[in-house]
């Protein structure tokens, strides 16, 4: 039942979000956008080191999915493009930014970095740097849900690149075999680093990748938060009701390079600017808010100011907080 809903499809049966949902989605996505822009800027200033993978352009995916989940109860796990997931799941932006700068107030005390942040409290399991590993781990989170019978669902995000890793299919097999409450979100942003889906995938429709395991999948317009929310609601309900795993392929786009040091020469500027101009997930919500009078230019401006203040506070904290004490080198290797 793969449902074609690519970005250019005319939206006839588009699900509607309530005023509260539209405003909440706008706020979440704007926070990610501004946070990531700031992170990019701070990387350029040398304050953030190593790898830094920005989520700009893909905001509607994690925002819609998380809105459809039981936040704090359902487990979520992703790869290294993880800043947006943490913000939407409610982790402190100061802690996230301070982890990016490697400071003691970072969520992992500065010892994890951009790709490695976690929160037991929010049931966010990272932040994983090895492409595809989170799919097996996320399937294990689903195994734990079923083992305990606690009625929670595990949501695993991975990219179009990770979708070609072998362990993804080992996990699909076990998830279906044991009917685990696992939702798999393929964030298809068209490029695994510099390689386009067409150059890497024999079957570029990732929603079909579960067919041989008997796992249903859908293609979703991942730039429209109404669609991501609606599809995620179906997928999560499917998993929670004991029907087993479900795959959602989110057709999305990253505006920035794979990481900060990627000049993104493998795609045209027109492609990027067209996506930004015609499909930007945040602009879409903004227009609806204004059209439906859920808000005014003025009220959105106030929100913008508020978000900016949060991001500025996070950046200030992340640049003034001290580095971890040298003695931290030797801690957290073994649990008590």
């Amino acid at each position: 039942m793969a449902r074609k809903a690519v970005a250019k499809t005319a939206k006839s049966n588009v699900p509607e979000l309530s005023k509260e949902q539209e405003l909440a989605a706008y706020r979440e996505m704007l926070l990610i956008r501004r946070f990531e822009e700031k992170a990019g800027q701070m990387y350029g200033m040398g304050l953030i080191g190593g790898f830094c993978h920005l989520y700009i352009g893909q905001e509607a995916v994690v925002t819609g999915v998380t809105m459809a989940s039981q936040k704090g109860k359902d487990a979520q796990i992703t790869g290294y493009r993880d800043h947006g997931h943490m913000l939407v799941m409610g982790l402190d932006p100061k802690g996230v930014m301070a982890e990016l700068t490697g400071r003691q107030g970072g969520l992992s005390k500065g010892k994890g970095g951009s790709m490695h942040m976690f929160s037991n409290e929010h049931r966010f399991y990272g932040g994983n740097g090895i492409v595809g590993a989170q799919v097996s781990l996320g399937t294990g989170l689903a195994f734990a849900s079923k083992y305990r019978g606690d009625n929670t669902v595990s949501i695993s995000y991975f990219g179009d690149g990770a979708a070609n890793q072998g362990q993804v299919y080992e996990s699909f097999n076990m998830a279906k075999l044991w009917n685990l409450p696992a939702v798999y979100i393929v964030e298809n942003n068209r490029y695994g680093m510099g390689t386009s889906v067409e150059r890497a995938s024999g079957q570029p429709d990732f929603s079909k990748r579960g067919i041989s395991f008997g796992i249903e999948g859908e293609q979703v317009d991942g730039m429209d938060v109404r669609m991501t929310y609606d599809a995620a609601k179906r997928a999560i309900e499917h998993a929670r009701s004991g029907k087993g795993p479900y795959i959602l392929e989110m057709l999305t786009y990253r505006y920035r390079g794979h990481s900060m040091s990627d000049p993104a020469k493998y795609r045209s500027k027109d492609e990027v600017s067209t996506m930004r101009a015609e499909h930007d997930p945040i602009e879409q919500v903004k227009q609806r808010i204004l059209e439906k009078r859920y808000g005014t230019e003025e009220s959105l401006k106030e929100l913008e100011t508020e978000i900016r203040a949060i991001v500025t506070e996070a950046a200030d904290f992340a640049t003034s907080d001290p580095e971890p004490a040298a003695s931290e080198l030797w801690t957290d290797i073994y649990a008590a």
Binding site: G49, A144, E170, T319, A326
Partner: protein, 462 residues
């Protein structure tokens, strides 16, 4: 924040060319608008505006080469800002007072708390005293491992066993015999042949608070899963700043069996013992197999538990007490002596024990140490012993380069240098893939005579 600085394309970039301005003075910009293109010899990148405002001044003209990273390149005034603010604000943008993460000079690296890391972190207790007159039960290593799992699974329902053929088949080597019958298919889980996947799945379940025991049919197959063991399990606590633990036991037969060829005969002792965040246990006797597996299952850390197929059927005496749990990280002095120290573990102990019997009969007072745990390694016991005997011979089935014997040699060279009367000497598997032919396989493995020859050499009796 009106000053736009020259950004870096990578942490190593120091300067670049401002190739093109895409805005001009007086333009209104909003977040995300591309302001300029910069390039190095490797890459081109766009500079985006982070704030809304009006471009007041383009400080660096386009086409300028060698623009230093973090040099101001433009002024953008936010709403309500006056030019004067720009100068004032620009100061706080510069990261002058904020040192980027940099390598500290070596003299400021703190020492690991008292000695080698894992030892210091886990100062192992001695084996528990046994009650006087305790009954000793003879059993195989197989039975000991089975009892350990069954007892622990009775104690804690979060513990489950997962692996190929562990349930209905009763275990490829019958270690999980009767566990399915007692605990049911929810807790004794047959997996598909999918090591990478089920190892990752089990680590994920451990993140969520369960306590998986993962049986690999042999550790040779776990090479498919080694990424999950090391990258996901071993490093998790550290990467999460102490938040997320992975209480999990990976167990199964390690090393050579008999005539199973190169791909089924590898010893992974040294491989896993290399990794901080893992405990690596490799018992020899039935009693140690039981007591250490119980300890491993109770640990809140990821454990690599290396068994040996040939030892599964060997018998030993196991004390019959309610809860026989041994300390991880503590070597056992199998025989006290003063002439030479022989250190081994797992199957190597069989060669070492037989050699010791012959040597003692010939008058050599051997001190024999069974490491039992390879990480944290009980280097203290080994060093103390070598200080007494002045001589070290190590015995293992694994390859020599970077092996457990190599590590022990370094340990005693550093820790007992002045006491050594002979070079530390290793008896190892030969530096070849395991051959199939019976005669060649025998040659590839260590043997009793090689241990005796090594002892003769270090005691200058040859």
């Amino acid at each position: 924040m009106p000053t736009i600085l020259m950004p870096a394309l990578s942490p190593t970039m120091e300067e670049g060319k401002l190739s093109k301005w895409l805005v001009k003075e007086g333009d209104t910009v909003k977040p995300g608008d591309v302001l300029a293109e910069i390039e190095t010899d490797k890459a081109t990148m766009e500079v985006e505006s982070v704030d809304s405002g009006v471009v007041q001044k383009l400080i660096v003209p386009e086409g300028t080469e060698g623009v230093k990273v973090n040099a101001p390149i433009a002024l953008v005034l936010g709403e309500g800002e006056v030019p004067g603010d720009a100068e004032a604000n620009s100061a706080q943008l510069k990261p002058v007072d904020v040192a980027p993460v940099k390598v500290e000079s070596t003299d400021t690296v703190p020492a690991a708390p008292a000695g080698v890391t894992p030892v210091a972190i886990l100062e192992a207790a001695s084996d528990p005293d046994l009650p006087a007159g305790v009954e000793m039960v003879e059993m195989t290593v197989r039975q000991a491992l089975n009892e350990a799992m069954a007892e622990e699974m009775r104690r804690d329902k979060d513990i489950f066993l997962m692996g190929e053929e562990v349930a209905e088949y009763q275990g490829a080597y019958k270690i999980s015999q009767n566990l399915l019958q007692e605990f049911g298919p929810e807790r004794v889980v047959d997996t598909p042949i999918t090591e990478h996947g089920f190892a990752g799945l089990a680590v994920g379940a451990a993140f969520a608070g369960l306590r998986p025991i993962v049986e690999f049919m042999t550790w040779n197959f776990a090479m498919q899963a080694i990424d999950q063991i090391i990258n996901s399990a071993a490093k998790q606590l550290y990467m999460s700043g102490g938040q997320v633990t992975a209480p999990i036991v990976f167990r199964g037969p390690n090393g050579a069996a008999a005539r199973v060829g190169a791909q089924h005969s590898q010893d992974y002792s040294a491989w896993y013992s290399h990794v901080p965040g893992l405990y690596v246990v490799a018992p020899y006797s039935a009693a140690d197999a039981k007591g250490l597996l119980k300890a491993a299952i109770r640990s809140n850390n990821p454990i690599v538990f290396l068994e040996n197929e040939i030892l599964y059927g060997s018998t030993g005496l196991v004390p019959k007490v309610d809860d026989y749990v041994l300390p991880i990280g503590k070597a056992r002095i199998a025989r006290q002596g003063k002439d030479v120290t022989i250190v081994s573990f797992s199957m190597g102990m069989r060669y070492a024990t037989q050699a010791t019997e012959k040597l003692v009969a010939a008058g050599v007072d051997v001190e024999l140490i069974d490491l039992r745990t390879l990480r944290p390694m009980d280097t203290k016991t080994v060093i103390e012993s070598v200080k007494k005997t002045g001589r070290l011979v190590t015995v293992e089935e694994g390859w020599p380069q970077g092996g457990i014997g190599a590590e022990l040699s370094a340990v005693v060279t550093a820790g007992a240098f002045d006491y050594l009367d002979a070079p530390p000497t290793r008896v190892t598997g030969k530096d070849v893939p395991m051959p199939y032919a019976a005669n060649l396989e025998k040659l590839a493995l260590p043997n009793v005579d090689e241990v005796i020859a090594a002892v003769n050499a270090v005691t200058y009796r040859s």
